[in-house]
Amino acid sequence: MTGFFSFHRFLAIIVKEFVQMRRDRVTFAMMIGIPIVQMVVFGYAINSDPKHLPTAILAADQSVFSRTIISAMENSGYFKIVRTVATEDEASFLIEEGEIQFVLTIPESFSRRLVRGEQPSLLLTADATDPSATSNALTAFRAVAEAALVRDFQGPLAHLKRGPPPLSVILHPSYNPEAITQYNIVPGLMGVVLTMTLVIITGLAITRERERGTMENLLSTPVKPFEVMLGKIIPYILVGYVQMGVIMLAGRFLFKVPMIGNLWLLLAVSFLFIAANLGVGLTFSTLARNQLQAVQMAFFFFLPSILLSGFMFPFRGMPGWAQMVGETLPLTHFLRIVRGILLKGNGLAQILPNLWPIGVFLVIALTIGLTRYRRTLD
């Protein structure tokens, strides 16, 4: 009866939380209202001009001209060559995973056809899920490549300077070809709304028990901290899923966001993210002395999440230290996962690099929360 975990006690907490949730109309309205309000507010996105975007080169033609173009790309500041790949499959996997933003494909016989004045094509493929991250770089590329080649046309090739442009550039923005920012914002909102409401609401959950004196009663019963915590988390995980549903429906029907990935996969991995946020909220509630402090702490967590996760500004446009902070936040990884699944059709293999950091975060948050949860009133 006093074993480590008891299902009846756990269930008792869950039932109680649901009844209380139903009684608290304001909070209940907030849970549903926030996704809708944010959706409207963030319909417009903030643009910026990110540089040094990771780029891979798929060169079937090794020539002086290829090298010229590649170094000109780097000099422009928009591109940073991080990889050389051998096959198209390798290139597209890296793009899907989010490891790189661009692939420049230089076709075989590029230099031969260039010299002949046949206007060979270069293919620049972009991961355009976040249009603000890529649009400037895409625009710049054509001019950069042409200007660089013109400098190489010396001596016998000088005639190529005149006449039509020496090469054609094919731009291929994948995933979001029309560069609609809402496509990027709406899936991102899912993570933002979950972070905001879940951290605040659970932050309040235990603080409220302490503030109202009900914790004293709870502690005098055989109930275990783990049972209280889990019993409080589960109802709000459900709330998290309702919020996701609202956003997905609105995204689908209001903003016509394409959802090409596996929605079940998204729902499954969201569980980890939701739980991670609840863990944060519970930890805050064990630290806060009253409900006001709990809300303040929640905002303290929420602001860096929204600013440094790549939701507001393209992640790669941020300075290095900000990216490092961003990498520790669960929202950063969740944004990549949601965009990956919805817009790129990612499978488990591609999202794995972003899944485990959330898991690590969850374990840390829950551990701190459980150790901090005061078993006695000391």
Binding site: M1, H8, R9, A12, V19, G213, T221, T376
Partner: protein, 307 residues
């Protein structure tokens, strides 16, 4: 008569918060079926002591058992058989009476919850409030609900921390009737209170001040042990005497009870001498029984002087 193991048996229990000694080497024993009263001024350590008994606080030192279980190692077993009523209403105000009781019954893992909750509500007269939110109940009914909640799991020991504070006399009377019924069923109760009439209803009591146990025993024993003598003084405008008497040697305390003045002191001769100086035409005085209140006020004053 065979010796029955005491329900509460603690020795030298101590708890400090920072530099403040809340409970100082407290030792008491409470026998089965007893109603044990806990008295003392605010901040005397009553609540701290009760919280230590039910596992809410960990004692710093000392030893003890509750219901035969060790206070330090077996607090889980103690919790299962103890009902704790906190000073402040600590059930959920946004749950109804029935929902609160159902919640507590589930927490204790009790069988046949529906029947049990109905029976408990019936027993304590809560049935007509079943669907009402606890937050909307009056003080007396809240207290009754709280009592119902800690009776659900049929505890052998009740720890009641000022259960009747702010409750009207009728509700207090009903509450005590319930405690007596439970005592008759063998349930032991430890009750902290500020009310003297309630103290007199207890089988035995303990008086605490600043964490120290100053007196313990039955009401008669406590009075006898105090060595206090009391005279009552009556007469026209007797309260005008109060200030003069307080300054007289031999008089340690003067307390008005309506039109009567209770004058007490430890030295009967000095006290008698002090009163002999009164104007006999105006005032009448006689030695009377020492009341618990006289004893407690005296204990409180003397203890304060020591500090």
């Amino acid at each position: 008569m065979t010796e029955v193991a005491p329900v509460i048996d603690v020795r030298d229990l101590t708890k400090t918060f920072g530099t403040n000694i809340a409970v100082n080497r407290l030792s008491i024993q409470v026998q089965p079926g007893e109603i044990y009263g806990f008295l003392g001024p605010n901040g005397s350590g009553k609540t701290t002591f009760i919280r230590m008994l039910c596992g809410l606080l960990r004692p710093d030192s000392g030893s003890g058992s509750c219901l035969g279980y060790d206070l330090f190692r077996e607090s889980e077993q103690i919790k299962v058989q103890t009902g704790y009523l906190a000073q402040r209403f600590s059930l959920y105000e946004d749950l109804s009476v029935r929902e609160n009781l159902q919640f507590m019954a589930r927490i204790y893992g009790l069988p046949k919850i529906r029947v049990l909750v109905d029976e408990t509500m019936e027993r304590l007269g809560l049935t007509r409030f079943a669907g009402q939110l606890a937050g909307n109940l009056s003080g007396g009914w809240k207290q009754r609900l709280a009592l119902a909640a800690c009776l659900l799991h049929k505890p052998r020991l009740l720890l009641l921390d000022e259960p009747t504070a702010g409750v009207d006399p009728k509700a207090r009377r009903d509450f005590w009737d319930e405690i007596y019924l439970l005592a008759a069923e063998g349930v032991t109760s430890l009750i902290s209170t500020h009310y003297m009439d309630e103290a007199e209803r207890c089988h035995r009591l303990a008086y605490l001040a600043y964490g120290n146990l100053l007196a313990a025993g039955t009401a008669t024993e406590v009075v006898a042990a105090s060595g206090l003598h009391t005279w009552t003084v009556t007469g026209e405008n007797v309260h005008l005497l109060s200030a003069t008497l307080k300054k007289t040697t031999g008089v340690e305390q003067v307390a008005p009870f309506g039109n009567i003045l209770h004058v007490s002191g430890h030295d009967p001769e000095a006290l008698g001498a002090a009163l002999d100086n009164l104007d006999r035409g105006k005032y009448r005085y006689e030695q009377s029984e020492v009341s618990l209140e006289d004893v407690f006020i005296s204990l409180m004053q003397n203890n304060r002087r020591d500090h």
